[in-house]
């Protein structure tokens, strides 16, 4: 039995909460859903391993040795995972300081805040590495099965990278607190997390575009220029790659650096955790957030609703960072567009699915905020306007925001390849409509600050939204390429929508 207030006691408390949260998120408290979820996960795992086997088969047949090209490729893949892990860790660490929940209770108690931070930092490291391990598992397992069991050490490298990410994220957050103060730290950290997450991937995509004219993320790591600049295979810079390939010395070094940096960061951050968390709690919107006094503008109810939605979207820093992430993903296609301006239309075909997919995903988030994330839903429900008008105005607000983001790229595209621009605009509108419709069917009233947990309300909605966007993106690419097969993904997308509609909660 752990002593109350001890590290183990805190860990058990956090683990219990996390486990119940996870169960609720995955199953919604329904046993049947658990069974379906397990079946779905099993099917996905088999498919993912099959695809990984297909992709890695030819490379493994030639044999993998720790030469410079292989080490560069493994390092590149590791850096991709690290950027995602660091982004996730920065976001989670910021939440540890700013989310109140039980923090006020614990900070007001005689229990040690340092121990709480240690447990929460550990939890951040575990959740960060768990996601990466899950994503990398098919590749690592296939490598281990066909290339040798030594590849299993790649899991340990991911664990070390997760710990290193959590430690680094804590130091970054501390640095922000020290330089910017508690008021700006949250916003800057959120934007930083978005840029780290998307920035690296986008950077190497941009590099690949500049070098090869394609969007492949790992193409850059195989370029002759970069290989010529790469260090010697014995360089410590390649230790993580060597560790992933099963070399014991580098593996121990990487594990030591990862776990050690986490421990040191906890030690440093623990000293000021209670102070910074208290400073964060003392923040209010009032300080410095005055607006200028102006007279009311005449507005119809629909105009009032649209204006309110746009104003709230503009003033939501967290959403700003999420939106920024989506917009950042549009930069590589924009770069490709810029570089190939004046070329044949064929080159623009690769841009079409990216823009369509981004529209669908952006629409999903915005539609949730406008339709479900309504903080004053009773006010609107008691207003003398029809429900249909409310929904129409909110959908118009979402469509307007997406048009604003997409329009500059579409205009640029229209100058270079008008037909491709038309195809992109049409399918972006369809993807936006699909995601908005799904959010409409699965709407469930919630506070806007629960945006992060919007997937919790319905896994089906989240999956349907992503799957429909992918299918519309595929259909758009095929139309742009002049392929008559475009109807296949389009039919699948319609099927996804029909299934989602059938599974949506019935409304009286």
């Amino acid at each position: 039995m752990a002593r109350p207030g001890s590290l183990l006691w805190f860990a058990r408390h956090e683990l219990r909460l996390a486990w119940r949260d996870f169960l609720a998120m995955m199953t919604g408290g329904k046993t049947t859903r658990t069974v379906w979820l397990a079946l779905g996960a099993a099917v996905f795992a088999v498919l993912a391993h099959w695809v990984a086997g297909l992709l890695l088969g030819p490379t493994l047949a030639q044999g993998l040795v720790p030469d410079r090209p292989t080490l560069m490729l493994v390092t590149g893949a590791g850096l991709l995972f690290f950027s995602v892990m660091l982004s996730q860790a920065v976001e989670s660490v910021t939440r540890a300081y700013y989310t109140r929940a039980d923090l006020d209770l614990i900070l007001a108690s005689p229990a040690s805040a340092r121990k709480l931070l240690a447990v929460r930092a550990g939890a951040i490291a575990i959740s960060t590495m768990a996601l990466s391990c899950l994503l990398a598992a098919p590749v690592i397992n296939v490598l281990a099965f066909q290339g040798g069991l030594h590849w299993l050490s790649a899991y340990l490298v991911l664990v070390a990278l997760g710990a290193f990410s959590a430690g680094l994220a804590m130091l970054v957050t501390l640095g922000l607190f020290a330089t910017l103060g508690p008021k700006r730290t949250r916003l800057v950290a959120q934007i930083l997390a978005a840029i780290i997450g998307a920035g690296f991937i986008i950077g190497i995509q941009a590099g690949a575009i500049l070098s090869y004219g394609n969007l492949s993320r790992l193409a850059l790591f195989q370029s002759e220029t970069l290989l010529a600049l790469a260090p010697d295979p014995d360089s410590p810079l390649f230790w993580p790659a060597r560790a992933a390939m099963g070399e014991l010395g580098p593996l121990l070094a990487v594990a030591l650096v990862g776990l050690g940096s986490l421990a040191v960061s906890i030690g440093i951050a623990g000293q000021s955790f209670a102070r910074h968390a208290t400073d964060a709690a003392g923040l209010t919107e009032r300080s410095g957030t005055r607006t200028t006094d102006r007279a009311f503008r005449t507005a119809s109810p629909a105009q009032a609703l649209r204006r309110k939605e746009w104003l709230l979207l503009r003033r939501d820093p967290w959403l700003l960072s999420q939106t920024l992430m989506q917009i950042l993903y549009l930069l590589p296609p924009a770069l490709l567009l810029w570089l190939n301006y004046g070329n044949a239309a064929g080159v623009f075909v690769v841009i079409v699915p990216v823009l369509v997919m981004a529209s669908g995903q952006l629409a999903g988030g915005l539609a949730w905020l406008a339709i479900s994330g309504e903080d004053a839903h009773e006010l609107i429900a008691t207003a003398p306007i029809s429900q249909a008008m409310v929904l129409r105005a909110k959908i118009e607000a979402v469509a307007g925001a997406i048009a604003l983001v997409l329009m500059p790229l579409l205009l640029l595209l229209a100058l270079a390849a008008p037909m491709i621009a038309v195809v992109t605009a049409v399918f972006a509108a369809i993807a936006t409509a699909s995601s908005t419709a799904i959010q409409l069917w699965f709407r469930a009233q919630a506070r806007r600050n629960l945006f992060r947990r919007r997937q919790v309300s319905s896994r089906i909605a989240t999956l349907a939204e992503a799957f429909a966007s992918i299918m519309w993106a595929g259909a758009a690419a095929l139309v742009a390429a002049g392929s008559p097969l475009f109807f296949m993904p389009a039919v699948v997308a319609l099927g996804v929508l029909a299934t989602a509609r059938a599974m949506a909660p019935k409304r009286g």
């Binding site: 919107e285 300080s287 005055r290 005449t298």
Partner: protein, 245 residues
Amino acid sequence: MAPPALAIVDLAKSFDRPAVDDFNLTVEAGSFYALLGPNGAGKTTVLRMVAGLLKPDRGTISVLGIDTAKDPIAAKRAIAWVSDEPMVYDRLTPLEYLEFVAGLWGMEAKAADAAARSLLDWLGLGPHRNERCGGFSKGMLQKVALAGALVHDPRLIILDEPLTGLDAGSARQVKDVLLDKVAAGTTVIMTTHILEVAERMAERIGVIARGRLIAEGTLAELREKSGQAGQTLEDIFLALVAERA
């Protein structure tokens, strides 16, 4: 003869079990009415049905002679709803919030602007009218919500526990505003657990238990009905509820 502000006939609503059953109530226009009842008695359910937030299983509701089922938009135009949880946006200022409410009720901008500024001053929120609501105290948020309810000049104001969490000064301000509105001809219906407030402010009081209206009238009439002459409303309420338990 002017129609009553509210006429409810045979209202019923069930969730897992009946929440409101055979509920009948008439509230005259220009009066202050308090609806009392223990936790879970059905007060909020009744008022949410009146405000159009819940659909009744059975029965009719008329607001100033308008059937809420037949013409909900016209009925809503006359009603304001204030719940115990203030429905305010953190990232809007009180003025922006009131501009939004005015837009929803289709008010003319100039008149709405003047009404909003006057209301905010009246409620002591004038100096904060351009600050975002995110940092406001519960009392300030409740006053912003109340200003939102009043800005479109409703003829029937429904308040569900509006004084919950308010300090004495804020509670007094809210009560004064409501009494002024009643004096000007508006009808106010309020639920509260603070029986002293109901005793002092309400002209008529309804007691609800297990989804039914078990007693209704002025304080004197309730004393007479319960056989508790000279007793406080608290004594009468507890006696009435105990009878139905």
